[in-house]
């Protein structure tokens, strides 16, 4: 039966709907992603990008449809540490009294015991992850003292330490410096080679063309989905943005 097909997909969202107190935020959305694929999630503010992420992480419940991660339910995916979420810089309290090391260690919590006692392997994983995002000398720095780019790298390190097979990144390039942008680009290539699946939301059309094998255009529901070269057309983009061309929305550099 269909069961065998499930295993082919890392993420499989089928006709999912999300509503907040009767207000529809997302309806009939579909997405299928395999190992090693990078997919761009593009849409206006309020088009349901964050809602889509929330549904895939299980942070909001879907009212209809089905989500399968690695062929299993969300609950199992959560227990398996399958999904890592990298929030927007605005999505977190940057003044919270925790250090880079503390945040990255949070990536290991799901696989620790109830007291979250660190094992040698956790410490090594955190160290490796911080090294990969080039923040080792800032390990003990409170996140409030970091730049936007350094903070972004901290959360990427958390996702790396978690050893998730699926990465969900909300605006990974927003408000970061050139050095961080370059580092994230390099990491994306490494992640792809490691067979990780990446879904990233972005406002930057150039990044979509540069990194994304696939693109998912949404405006409360899926407007278009497929290979970037085929789907990412001016017509589709215009209809995603409700008739406005992205140049108007994001300035001429888009």
């Amino acid at each position: 039966m269909k069961e065998s097909n499930y295993k082919d997909y890392r993420i499989e969202a089928e006709n999912i709907c999300v509503d907040y107190h009767g207000k529809v935020a997302l309806y009939d959305a579909n997405l299928r992603l395999k190992s090693g694929q990078i997919c761009g999630l593009v849409g206006m503010n309020g088009a349901g990008k964050t809602t889509f992420f929330n549904a895939l992480t299980g942070f909001v419940n879907i009212s209809k449809g089905k989500i399968r991660i690695n062929g299993e339910s969300l609950r199992i995916a959560q227990q398996d540490q399958a999904i890592a979420y990298v929030p927007q810089n605005e999505g977190i309290d940057s003044q919270f009294p925790v250090s880079v090391w503390d945040v990255v260690m949070m990536g290991r919590y799901g696989s620790m015991n109830i007291l979250r006692s660190q094992r040698e392997s956790d410490i090594q994983a955190v160290k490796d992850a911080i090294e990969r995002v080039d923040l080792i000398e800032l390990s003990s720095t409170p996140i409030g003292n970091l730049s936007g780019g350094q903070r972004k790298r901290t959360f990427l390190a958390r996702a790396i330490a978690q050893r998730a097979s699926i990465l969900l990144l909300d605006e990974p390039f927003a408000g970061v410096d050139i050095r961080t942008e370059k580092l994230i680009s390099e990491l994306f290539i490494q992640f792809k080679n490691e067979g990780k699946t990446i879904l990233l939301s972005t406002h930057d059309m150039i990044h979509v063309r540069e990194f994304c094998d696939l693109v998912l255009l949404i405006n409360k529901t899926v407007v278009a989905y497929g290979e970037t070269s085929e789907v990412f057309t001016p017509e589709n983009i215009t209809s995603t943005f409700g008739g406005m061309s992205p140049d108007v929305l994001f300035g001429p550099e888009s």
Binding site: H21, N54, T57, G58, F59, R75, Q78, Q79, Q81, I83, A84, Y85, P87, G91, I92, D93, F96, P97, V98, S99, D102, M106, G107, Y109, G110, S111, I114, L115, R116, P142, G144, N145, R158, Q162
Partner: protein, 290 residues
């Protein structure tokens, strides 16, 4: 000669009250309560639950009255109404279009009013004044037992789930993503809040207990960038406030609860002005220039 006089004065300022049994008990109990509230305070200030703390602490009022009237432990009644008020806030918010802060204000004042009406209706030996403003100097033995038990419970719960609660306050979505039960942590923190409000109201009363739950944490937040240090500073400043408040109330015949909270506020003010990094006069900057 003068120095000798001064030191005798200070010694008697500290030692004299300790010769009274009720003062020793009040100091011990209030320090314990302050430590518990201060411990919880760092979570509440970071979670942004000041208004929630206010709501829960006021809502326990009818519970306290009913429990006293029925001869039950007052903490039980307070706890039921504390958690109940939060459940009701959640329900009304979900089922109506009224905004959350309005719902919170509405529910807790309703509960509080119910409590006041109940006190006037149930003619018993309930002292409205001590419920509203606390009575650490007149704490009874059964109250001591309850306070110690609840305090230990809260400290144990907060210690076991310390890391999860920090994560829950910081980034609940990540917690959910890695399979941590966020709903459980939400209710755990609410439970601790209700319990801490219950013990706190003995020291400073229902009206001011929210200060015990937020001021020490807010003070500590201005002084450090590390969560563990924040908790330690919060607990220490809460204990100092309680001890000093009781001393001042003894020597100058002041309302105890008011004195404790006022000293907490002064400590906050001090941090607000002079905290090395986050104070108005940033001393660190000042020093680094020279």
């Amino acid at each position: 000669m003068d120095v000798c006089f001064l030191s005798t004065n200070i010694t008697s300022f500290i030692a004299d009250p300790l010769s009274h049994e009720f003062m020793r008990k009040a100091l011990l109990m209030s320090s314990l309560v302050a430590a518990v509230c201060g411990f919880l305070s760092s979570y509440l200030t970071l979670k942004g639950w000041a208004l929630m703390g206010d709501a829960v602490s006021h809502s326990v009022m009818p519970g306290v009255v009913v429990a006293y009237a029925l001869g039950l432990p007052f903490s039980l009644g307070a706890f039921i109404f504390g958690v109940g008020s939060v459940a009701l806030i959640g329900f009304v918010k979900q089922k109506s279009r009224v905004k959350e802060d309005t719902v919170i204000g509405l529910v807790f004042t309703g509960f509080f009013a119910l409590g006041i009406v109940l006190v006037s209706k149930i003619k018993s030996n309930i002292d409205l004044h001590s419920i509203l403003f606390g009575s650490p100097l007149g704490i009874s033995l059964s109250d001591v037992k309850q306070t110690v038990f609840i305090s230990l419970l809260v400290v144990i719960l907060l210690s076991i789930f310390r890391k999860d609660l920090i994560l829950y306050c910081f980034d609940p979505r990540h917690a959910k993503t890695v399979g941590i039960n966020v709903l459980f942590l939400h209710y755990l923190l609410l439970t601790c809040l209700s319990l801490a409000a219950v013990v706190g109201l003995q020291s400073v009363g229902i009206v001011l207990v929210v200060a015990m739950l937020i001021t020490p944490g807010a003070t500590a937040y201005l002084l450090t960038d590390k969560f563990d240090n924040m908790t330690i500073i919060s607990v220490i400043s809460a204990i100092i406030s309680s001890v000093l408040g009781i001393y001042f109330s003894f020597w100058f015949d002041l309302e105890t609860g008011g004195s404790i909270v006022l000293i907490q506020t002064f400590i906050f003010l001090f941090a607000f002005l002079f905290a090395p990094r986050y104070g108005i006069f940033k001393f660190k900057k000042l020093f680094s220039n020279y």
